[in-house]
């Protein structure tokens, strides 16, 4: 296996330890939104909350459920809720044809907080795609079904080092299975950079002033600045120095982009020559004709993993397992790699790629990748404050 795709080898010994899984014995008391609804606000309140969207969305812990996850008999249907619409919509008819199970897709979500709000409000479905830090939160709130890998034989296709990520387990059983990885990579214009820049310092180089495009995300900005200072990006200590670095960088920035489409567009025709984008969006932009490429600089890069999961109260949990197994099949995962262009942790799919395709997906040999996990609340707050200060300056 390619070392670069091996999570353990990809992270250096000096790298900070990822945030450990949340203590399952944690007692969080009080009312969830579910409880609020149940305790007498009644139908009107429920309607109001459903309409309230963000305003009413609660992150309250779900009531503790002591019963083990028992798979219910499938009802001939699987209900999907996801943010990989292009791929899922393409392969769902194949699943229906092969299994006879009817696929129902809910509207897609654009960010993890959307499914979180709905799940806590009492909605449910059979399959969804949370990012690792949100899996940790869902595990802490006991919102996920513990997966029966006997029903998902294709889970063997996952790279071995991605099969036992602690953050994706609860009570030593998997609650989510990884399938794609996203690098917050250093993206550059190949006409301006005949050879790939080797350091994030390229994004502090005044020579590229007014041509920098960076993601408007506190944890990415602070994390990458921390990497340049040899600090821990998941629990930075050198906050004053990081702030100084970000202030120093700000005058060079063309735009802090918020959504990935805008970020990609900046590199295609928006005048950006270097900055931070995801590897997947860089590949997509290159497919569209932009002279761009991505690299993992020597300081390292943040790595995000998207996962398959099933809510605790899924009505057709068994069919949810079957759908996960179907998606982990190499030919189905290949459609994702060639369509949506995200890198996978699926060894069987990788084996199907040509050497050129593998090179386009693989991180550089020996690259330092830091798996981004849930940060402690006080760390999140201090990073968020720092980023707001930088933007206000």
């Amino acid at each position: 296996m390619d070392d670069a795709r091996d999570l353990r080898s990809a992270t250096s010994p000096a790298e900070p330890t990822v945030t450990p899984g949340v203590d399952p014995t944690l007692q969080v008391t009080g009312l969830s939104r579910r409880d609020l609804l149940r305790r007498g606000t009644g139908v009107v309140a429920g309607t109001a909350l459903a309409a309230a969207g963000v305003a009413g969305a609660a992150a309250a812990p779900a009531p503790k459920r002591s019963a083990p996850a028992v798979l219910r008999q499938g009802a001939g249907e699987v209900v999907l809720y996801n943010w990989y619409a292009n791929w899922i919509n393409e392969v769902a008819p194949i699943f229906e044809q092969e299994t006879g199970i009817k696929v129902t897709s809910l509207a897609n979500y654009a960010s993890n907080d959307e499914w979180w709000a709905k799940l806590n409000a009492g909605e449910t479905w059979d399959f969804f795609i949370p990012t690792t830090d949100w899996v940790q939160r869902a595990n802490a709130a006991d919102l996920l079904t513990q997966l029966d890998l006997g029903l998902i034989p294709n889970s063997a296709n996952i790279f071995p080092d991605y099969q036992n990520i602690a953050e994706l387990r609860k009570d030593d059983k998997p609650t989510a299975l990884p399938f794609t990885r996203v690098y917050y990579a250093l993206t550059y214009n190949t006409e301006q950079f005949p050879t790939a820049p080797t350091s994030w310092e390229a994004t502090w180089d005044p020579a590229h002033g007014g041509k920098l495009a960076l993601q408007d995300q506190a944890y990415a900005r602070v994390g990458i600045a921390a990497l340049t200072l040899d600090d821990n990006p998941l629990e930075p200590q050198k906050m004053d120095e990081i702030k100084g670095r970000l202030m120093e960088q700000k005058p060079l920035v063309l735009n802090y982009w918020k959504d990935y489409q805008s970020g990609m567009q900046l590199f295609i025709d928006g005048g950006a020559t270097v900055g931070q984008l995801t590897d997947g969006r860089t590949r997509m932009g290159k497919d569209l004709g932009a002279p761009i490429a991505w690299t993992i600089p020597q300081e390292g890069a943040l790595l995000f993993i998207d996962n398959f999961a099933i809510p605790k109260d899924a009505p057709n949990a068994e069919n949810g397992h079957r759908f996960i197994d179907f998606l982990l099949r190499e030919d189905i995962m290949l459609r994702q790699m060639r369509g949506m262009r995200y890198d996978t942790v699926n060894a069987a799919a990788y084996a199907q790629l040509t050497p050129e395709e593998q090179a386009a997906f693989a991180a550089p040999e020996g690259a330092k990748l830091i798996l981004t996990t849930d940060l402690k609340a006080n760390v999140r707050k201090s990073i968020d404050d720092l980023w707001n200060e930088v933007k206000l300056s």
């Binding site: 203590d23 008391t29 009080g30 309607t47 918020k258 928006g270 609340a377 404050d385």
Partner: protein
């Protein structure tokens, strides 16, 4: 508040005669239904969600799990009120929303005046429809369209590149945010002013003219005061959505165009600090409500509404 006052005024002039309740129904049904249904809708879709947001604003985060825990904690408000960061974000939000509102007034008043006073009344309906048509397109799509217009080598430069001094770097700037706001919410400013202009008593304008008043003085002494209710309503209706907006500064703004809406959105998404986001939302709501209350208390509303 402004709209309800306006509503009461207009109801007095053009209200249809009260309908009799259908035979067989008790007499109290119609009034209860006519009042009860709107009240129920307001309670269900405005008041209760606000109450829940208020409740969440007193929750805290568990230090270990990061999850919200239900207690009664005023720390979020202490944080909001004591933090220099949020004060500065609030001030910047006022600056951006205020500038956009004034710019919209400058753009909307001539349009509304032309529409209500200069255009043949038989054609006004079509033109009013054209003012409203953009509302049928998604806010986000309309905002995205400005990226294509304002970006370097975009539509603006293609069309007007020959104009000397035309700025080429409008996108990702404060100016782009103001343009975006004015475009997106302009009908909210035009329509109330248009309604005021339509209700102008033409005889007063003719009298001013007959008494030798030049047009500019007639405008300042007659037209503007008489259309002030529409202007006030437009200012209020326009300012409030700008004040809470986050999409426009996010898509069009520069590196420093941070508004409170952006900060709140981040609390509910990336920061996973919903209690703080809820507290910020409540503070923003209170600022708007108290601001309106003070305005209508001291602005001599009766004078404004003639």
């Amino acid at each position: 508040m402004a709209t309800s006052t306006l509503g009461r005024r207009s109801a007095g002039t053009g209200a249809a005669p009260a309908r009799r309740p259908p035979r067989g129904l008790p007499g109290w049904v119609a009034p209860v239904a006519s009042i009860g249904v709107p009240v129920a809708v307001l309670v269900a879709f405005v008041l209760l969600p606000l109450v829940f947001v208020g409740v969440y604003s007193f929750y805290s985060l568990n230090e270990m799990s990061g999850l919200m825990q239900t207690d009664f904690w005023v720390g979020n408000y202490r944080e909001v009120l004591s933090s220099d960061i949020y004060r500065r974000v609030l001030w910047r939000t006022f600056q951006i929303a205020g500038a956009a509102t004034l710019l919209a007034l400058v753009v909307a008043y001539p349009m509304a005046y032309a529409l209500g006073a200069l255009v043949d009344p038989r054609r006004q309906g079509v033109l009013v429809l054209l003012v409203i048509v953009p509302f049928w397109t998604s806010y986000i799509v309309r905002t995205f369209s400005w990226i294509g217009i304002l970006q370097r080598d975009g539509f603006l430069q293609d069309a007007l590149g020959w104009v000397p001094g035309l700025p080429t770097d409008l996108l990702y700037s404060r100016a782009a945010v103001l343009i975006g706001f004015v475009h997106v919410f302009l009908p909210l400013m035009i329509l109330p002013i248009y309604a005021s202009v339509r209700n102008l008593d033409r005889r007063l304008l003719e009298a001013a003219h007959d008494l030798g008043s030049p047009p500019w003085r007639t405008f300042l002494r007659v037209t503007l005061p008489l259309t002030l209710p529409g202007v006030v309503a437009g200012l209020v209706l326009f300012f409030i959505p700008c004040f809470g907006s986050f999409v426009t500064p996010q898509l069009l703004g520069g590196t420093g165009d941070l508004m409170m809406g952006n900060v709140i959105a981040t609390q509910f998404g990336e920061a996973f600090n919903w209690p703080l986001g809820a507290a910020l939302s409540i503070v923003m709501t209170l600022i708007v409500v108290v601001g309106l209350a003070i305005f209508f208390r001291f602005a001599d509303v009766d004078q404004v509404y003639g």
